[in-house]
């Protein structure tokens, strides 16, 4: 199981306010699938319009990365810049 932390805003939209969700996944693409299965719309939303931070590194296009029980995973809005 990996633990995925959502912002309270995202949680209100997809998980009835639960900010920490656990899914079975070995990598990010499996994580997206599992999230989508448990909370319809969430996996899709993250893939298309959000970033994911894994162990402190913000990834705008995460997909192939491996995740483990110890990974710290946060879902964030996308960040651009001037």
């Amino acid at each position: 199981m990996v633990k995925v932390t959502l912002s309270s805003g995202t949680a209100q939209q997809f998980t009835n306010g639960v900010t920490e969700v656990n899914v079975e996944a070995k990598n990010v693409r499996q994580m997206f699938k599992a999230l989508e299965a448990d909370f319809p719309g969430l996996g899709e939303e993250i893939q298309t319009s959000m970033s994911v931070a894994i162990d402190g590194v913000i990834l705008p296009d995460p997909f192939l990365e491996e995740v483990t029980e110890d990974s710290e995973i946060y879902v964030l809005p996308k960040i651009g810049g001037g």
Binding site: G9, T10, Q13, I58, D61, G80, G82
Partner: protein, 755 residues
Amino acid sequence: MNEQPKQYKWVGTRAIRPDGVDKVTGRAMYGADLALPGMVEGKVVRSPHAHARIISIDTSKAEALKGVTAVITAADMPVADSKPVASGEAMINFKDLANNVLAREKALYEGQAVAAVAATTAAIAEKAAALVVVNYEVLPHVIDVMEAIKEDAPVLHDDMFTGGVKPKPEKASNVANRVEFALGDAEAGFAAADLVIERKFTTEPVHQGYIEPHAVVADMNPDGKVDVFCSSQGHFMVRAFCSQLLHIEMSKIKVTAAEIGGGFGGKTTVYLEPLAIMLSRKSGRPVRMTMSREEVFRGSGATSGAAMTIKMGATKDGKITGAYAELYLQAGAFPGSPVGPAAMTAFAPYDLDNVKVVGFDVVSNRQKVVAYRAPGAPISEYGVESVVDELASELGIDPIEIRTINAAKEGTQAAYGVKFGTIGFQETLDAAKATEHFKTPLGPNQGRGVASGFWFNIGGESCAGIRVNEDGSISLTEGSPDIGGSRASMALMAAETLGVDYHSIKPSVVDTDAIGYHFVTGGSRVTFATGMAVVEASKAAIDELRARAAKVWDVDVDGVVWEDGHAKPASTNVGDFEPMSLAEIAKVANKTGGPISGHADINAKGAGPAFGTHICDVEVDPDTGHVTVLRYTAVQDAGRAIHPAYVEGQIQGGAVQGIGWALNEEYIYDKNGRLENAGFLDYRVPVASDLPMIDAIIVEVPNPTHPFGVRGVGEVPIIPPLAAVSNAVAAATGVRFNQLPLSPPTILAGIAASK
């Protein structure tokens, strides 16, 4: 972390930039400097109304004018779906972008493009633009963010329902989106505090103010191929956006990056480029379009204005126990203010257990907001840094001390979730504290302000090519438009990696046909991400150079190492060979397999967050309300300064933009929603005589994921000045203003009210 910085030969030197001579002699080609044979000039017809339905557009008179080669309206443009598409890192709703480029049903701000013309001379084009008859039904408008969220405010988009809330609202409104971040329990945090301060703040939208107006030359062939030459922060962005908007395959569009006369985020989108392509298609001739300064103000750019509430609580000894922020950011006419980053950065410099931030993205009848240096962060951090300052002074704690007590460090969880790796916030505080500036006594009517700032920095797609020429010189290609000397930094990193003379490397920013996709020059990513690509391409070239030397020596490639620009046998076991220089290997390249090169196409990860701390001294004239900045010091963690002079330049330039934001810059609208100060005379950016020297102090806490430790520099310096200036004014006057800009009338009114 306290290891001595590695000694580099090129990295960290102040080499002369490769494009420098062209720029000091007037040779460099900016967006408006290209003239093609047969070229015609394009002009935009803009809405005179802040909010109006477009009933009809009659182009016949304009078309009939002698010399006119084309007239276009939104009817000439494909209709885009209203669906956000991932484009680079940003989510782009191409329907909104299309409408912003050329209004279809409604004009949503004064200055929005509604039609465009092309003619053989600029004067004729101007005349033709005036002959385009647009029939409008004027609608009620709303400019201010807090007005726009009122129940009875005119609604800009009747199909827009606030996102980020559940259940979906039943009524359309001007609130496009809501974001929220929370950690711990803010209320419990306030209960544990000895002192709680809650303040409301407002900031005005400001323009990026690049001195070069937008400019483009587009040339479409009868076979559908398009050449575009333009000033932008990303020629790949221009290609992608034009391709999407005009339904032209990317491979048919070649965009060449002109030298760019400043962008600061304002040139990360398209305005003229798609119009120029459409006009060229209709005219059958190359089309040049340039904005006047007035058009730049009315029709482009601007970052959000905002209204916000910041509440923070602390114990007697300065530990912040709870923090809350509510942010309303103007998006302009279409959704997309940087409220997400504003909310995430607000409290990021501090190690807090109990935080809550709520943010709203609000549309109103003004220009569609586009990025401006660290989008969103200067706004929210201005409010937070003001309250931190007030907490410090109420508690009798030194402003650097209170920040030190609460500073985020490695392992701190930021309010937006992520735990920081190696960061250098404390180092900037220490360096600020150690300055002579911080200890210098002040005179009457003078005050000192301190403020800090945080920005994530970003990575993203970049590519690089290293070609070893026959004579041993190096052609370095990449695709990040160079706004502030990045070609010099790229060449320095390549020289360092390859072990060759910086001057033997010629870096070029090449066109979209010549290299792979690059995300825009923005977010402080180029030295980090494109630099990473350059280092990887250099390493690939080194591997090839080693392989060639191995062939010459008839040994295994593993037996060859690369040191100081030479291939050398790894040990005496390999054989007794004279080291071969890069040039010597290049000379025999034809015998060993042909031309030698190295390439890298990457999506750079692991950008290093950066912090800055600024100190500002001001003097306030109690009779006129005029604020003079007397002295300014800006400290920033750059990770590693590849070219320290350009790092200082970024810090100084960003700080001065922040000072302008704090003191002078604002848009003034009349009651019809028309901009009254669309020029540099009345929209006053800082000039040389307004300012002192800006002492830039670079701190280097290397980013472990970058080969040289680069973090990125350009965004952070604009963040602290808003609060640093405002805290200094508070110290000088004894009055807290909590609104920007701190123009003389505001100051005078504030002083009068306090008496």
